[in-house]
Symmetry: C2
Subunit: 484 residues, 2 copies
Amino acid sequence: MAPDGNGGRAQKSVADEVLNKLKDILGPKGWSQDADTLAPLLVDTRGYYHGACALLARPETTEQVAAIMKVCHEAGVPVVPQGGNTSRVGSATPDESGGTILLSLARMNTVREVDPVDYTMTVEAGCVLKDLQDAAEAKDRLFPLSLGAEGSCMIGGNIASNAGGINVLRYGNTRDLVLGLEVVLPNGEIWNGLRRLRKDNTGYDLKQWFIGSEGTLGIVTAAVLKLFPLPKERATALCAIRDLDACLDLLARARAASGDALSSFELLAGITLDFAYQHVDSAKRAMEGSYDWNVLFEFSGLEPGHRMNDALETMLEKAFEDGVVIDAVIAQSEQQRADIWFLREAVVEAQAAEGASIKHDVSVPVSKVPEFINRSNEALHDFMEGIRPYPFGHVGDGNIHYNVTQPAGMDADAYMAAAPEIHDIVHGITADLNGSISAEHGIGQLKREELKRYKTKLELDLMRQLKSMLDPQGLMNPGKVLDI
Amino acid sequence: MAPDGNGGRAQKSVADEVLNKLKDILGPKGWSQDADTLAPLLVDTRGYYHGACALLARPETTEQVAAIMKVCHEAGVPVVPQGGNTSRVGSATPDESGGTILLSLARMNTVREVDPVDYTMTVEAGCVLKDLQDAAEAKDRLFPLSLGAEGSCMIGGNIASNAGGINVLRYGNTRDLVLGLEVVLPNGEIWNGLRRLRKDNTGYDLKQWFIGSEGTLGIVTAAVLKLFPLPKERATALCAIRDLDACLDLLARARAASGDALSSFELLAGITLDFAYQHVDSAKRAMEGSYDWNVLFEFSGLEPGHRMNDALETMLEKAFEDGVVIDAVIAQSEQQRADIWFLREAVVEAQAAEGASIKHDVSVPVSKVPEFINRSNEALHDFMEGIRPYPFGHVGDGNIHYNVTQPAGMDADAYMAAAPEIHDIVHGITADLNGSISAEHGIGQLKREELKRYKTKLELDLMRQLKSMLDPQGLMNPGKVLDI
């Protein structure tokens, strides 16, 4: 299934002398070579890639990470860093050679400080995202990064992949939430950039190099993150809209009516809700009818009360009068809010029940979303009869998970064989609209070859130059993002 | 007066053959060697640095910039890019050798597009900041970057210096406002990164390298900027607070009461308002009394009406009851609002009337602002009798313009001779609090030597490596930020 795996590489091994040095650094609890322990860490979350490693290193401190990197740097041994292993693009799976050290950050999971006055939090890379949300909330603050894998993904991986999620519209991507970083470089040097400043113009902003670099330039070991006031009221609605174009109209209305406190704005094509109701037991029907285009959105207010709810109701009434919205439900309780948000997750889960799915994580300028979806749908229907486009996602950021389900009854393998052509169609339209072929998931292994087609030679050259500058031996997460 | 000027460098010249090539590229209107035309461009805004150049290039297109850079790259001629020439650290002033091309972006001042649906604006580097604010407002959108020099500074320079200003608290630094960049590299290649995407995780984020690099890595020629909904109501207050610590309490109250729509939060020490009233004719007294510590702050609401005003009033009443605020005035008209904001500018202007001033642009974690000011005041009073600390600025971001006025009646030159020791005291306390010695003004020439003391060797090495990678001959704005 791997679209461009690393299979076929020669088996490699790591000298016992090197492994023994690493084991000494890590201590008895800090490493494993046990097959059962390793197994779940050597396959990616989508099951595309199956890797191998010579040793699982589980360091407990930044100094241990640095010592490991020094040994590997001297011995020329590649290292693959891993957080919660939830990459959608195979970023954290080693190749099959077995000549790699898999370095898990999972034991470095201390929240070093939550400072409600500074609105900052200093955390280690192995902290699970959900735990950080909770740690902030305990101090009446919000850490806004939120995404499907939040129960298992780790902040180091979120930073390395510049994760997006459902609150980007208001709070930005992970890049926007990072004030400071601690990074172990490929040669084992520790860069301590754990500053918690809102403004710092003392030279080049080194932390930007590492955010979104998918572990190919160094290992993020700790970070200072921005916090925000904790919302005290959330007003949530699911509504059906007149047509796809109406989503832009509704977005502008929602942004204005909320006082720019619109935190999420998610598009759900009719087919995605239909599948969710059909295939996910706990998915509760929110509106009686079925509609082609639906939007799930939320206002977050900082005062307790129902001001946001009132604003949302007033806005929807007007949008209904104007024919922009044709049906709607507003959450009347925390339970109903959870039920509506569960639909967003159910839409993801439901895909599998209808067969094979070819996935895209694209972005275009927000104003081009309807054009992107309309053109892609049309081109795909021309390409294959019965094909079922399944678009949903963060339309407020121009980011669509444009997945494509196989025709009913078709053989899944036969369908997947068409993946390259389907990628070409969808990514071609994306590129034509000056969009991105990876809005929030990154490149990893999955899109590495495709990246070469959509970046200019200059861009690839500049990326390679930075990689070679920091990691001349190509030992940091090799074969991810770039083919070095 | 130049703390570390480039005087004493040998005179250099640029070969006529090279100059003629450049003149051909630029056409008759595109260059000058006229002394009167050049004079104002060869001195920085603070009068610290006086430079020279072989030619002023005024290209009209990105292609011309690229062609100039190619010629200079081949001939080994250094280039200093310049926008509105408002740098506070001598970033845009060439050295005195005369062997440099001064490249002004002033003629590249087209607003290519304002897109209210995408909330983006595509602009050329030579656009004056104020013109961009106006262009956005004409489409009912806000471009929030706002600073003292906005009537003359240019967006290319704002980007190159990652400018801050009075709205960072809500909208971020310039870095946070840039979605895409077009950059001419030192070798004359054009990187077209003019994407207008909210999410794009396709490899390393190249634009981050250039933002805040002060023209040492390439020349920003155009950018895609983020816009926001235009505020429809602004509630503005100047108030006196109990003591310096109370500013943190008031900040938290203001953030919560406004629904995080607090756009500015500026501290004004009593001495700064006193000087403003005394020395600036059009500065109108806002409160009857004189108080040691004052805060100017503003809520920005998206709905017309007085909701923000009501929220501000309620918040201030409670803060008054609780003894946090001891006097206050809320702007009752647009005129009164302008008068209050004028005080913020008058405070800057008034300094000169009281003699020489030694300036600092530091940031510390927000919670450390009172400690920073108290410790610095105390240390300076110990150092020199009668010295007059003059702190003001963006306390909501932890950024204080901690200027220090000479003792009344002292000889200005004698006072300025103590600048190195005074910098040591203030920057030493800043560093001790994990702060930054340049929060928003950058490094330029002024702080280049000092930077070496406050960055680690590793940080300086990494910066030098990137510089050498992109500009191996050291021709881009040489001697700025780094001594290469």
